[in-house]
Symmetry: C2
Subunit: 180 residues, 2 copies
DNA sequence: TTTGATGCAAAGTTTTTGCATGGTT
DNA sequence: AACCATGCAAAAACTTTGCATCAAA
């Protein structure tokens, strides 16, 4: 859709890239975690994989596969869609990335960090993360019969203040707001 | 995939079906809620729509679009995939049905009833609903800044006891269990 | 050198759409 | 009788796959 960018940006050929190699060799704990995972599974440490990880680290919040590739391309790197999918799956296996599918939206990914609640605006689709220590504490204490908890996600759907204001102004609509 | 069933079952032509008409005329509060919704939006009360609703009511727990259509077909009715999607969307708009997409699985639907927590086994994919009154109570009391809550979903991922047992037996595997 | 990863394009899934037909109001 | 819903098939979105090429170990 926005492929035009590719044409006007110098596209680095990748294979060996000093910036990425520095990144891969850095002491960044996230990099180390990924390297350890690759080692542990006998997988190769390719420039593409580190380039993708490096760009993910620059994203705050959620992103789609599409957006991730855009960001990488916009930065002058070339990675194929399949490699993006492949690496994202690797990062999920390595428990560094989580996929979320919120109601009616396409899959979004985010780095695994401290547990947090997702507030999803059903009007504009924006997702906000909220730390919620008391909820986290109660979940840590929570046990379920015959079920071993690995992780959890709390999705709270509703209306953000921006959309609430907009909706108030448009109150005299018919209530019919089907997706398309 | 399992279309073979269609061939060996008598497939009712629908358009007018006494069973479905009785169902549509019944005092079932769910039926009434749907009828009210259709009325309020100037939409037609078709036999297909009630047939789909009626079969959804017979399902306990979650179902996919595919499964729903299978169930309807197996019962001798004919509805197209698009009508299933259409009606399911209607039921979601009417706040009678909710779509869930659990990690790595295809979309599943369930009737909206009392709030409950979903326990999803990441090994076999089974989903169990668990009532959790204390959590529900705390959510009812919960407020977020600049955000109006409509509803929420708590997904808890982990391992069910059946799979935990199986995994224990297969402990001497290599830990590599990629999806395919 | 061996083996695994990438990129491309093609195939697969799931979901949506456009239009003629036919049922509901 | 008017018009909305259905069903079909075709298109669209998103994801996965197969294979030749190229790079990491």
């Amino acid at each position: 859709m926005f492929d035009s960018k590719i044409g006007c940006t110098f596209v680095t050929s990748m294979k060996t890239d000093p910036n990425i190699e520095d990144f891969a060799a850095s002491n960044n704990p996230v990099v180390r975690q990924f390297s350890d995972y690759l080692d542990a599974h006998g997988m190769r440490k390719t420039t593409e994989r580190y380039a993708i990880l490096s760009h993910i680290l620059n994203i705050s919040g959620h992103f789609t596969i599409e957006e991730l590739q855009q960001i990488i391309n916009a930065d002058g790197f070339r990675v194929s869609r399949s490699t993006v999918y492949n690496t994202v799956e690797l990062l999920m296996d390595a428990k560094m990335l989580r996929r979320h599918v919120f109601e009616g939206m396409q899959a979004q990914y985010e780095r695994i960090s401290l547990p947090h609640t997702h507030l999803i605006c059903t009007s504009c689709g924006k997702v906000k993360e909220v730390r919620d220590p008391s909820f986290a504490a109660s979940m840590n204490a929570r046990r379920f019969n015959a079920f071993n908890i690995d992780h959890y996600s709390l999705y709270v759907y509703g209306t953000c203040s921006t959309c609430a204001r907009k909706l108030k102004r448009t109150k005299n609509d018919n209530g019919n707001k089907r997706k398309k």
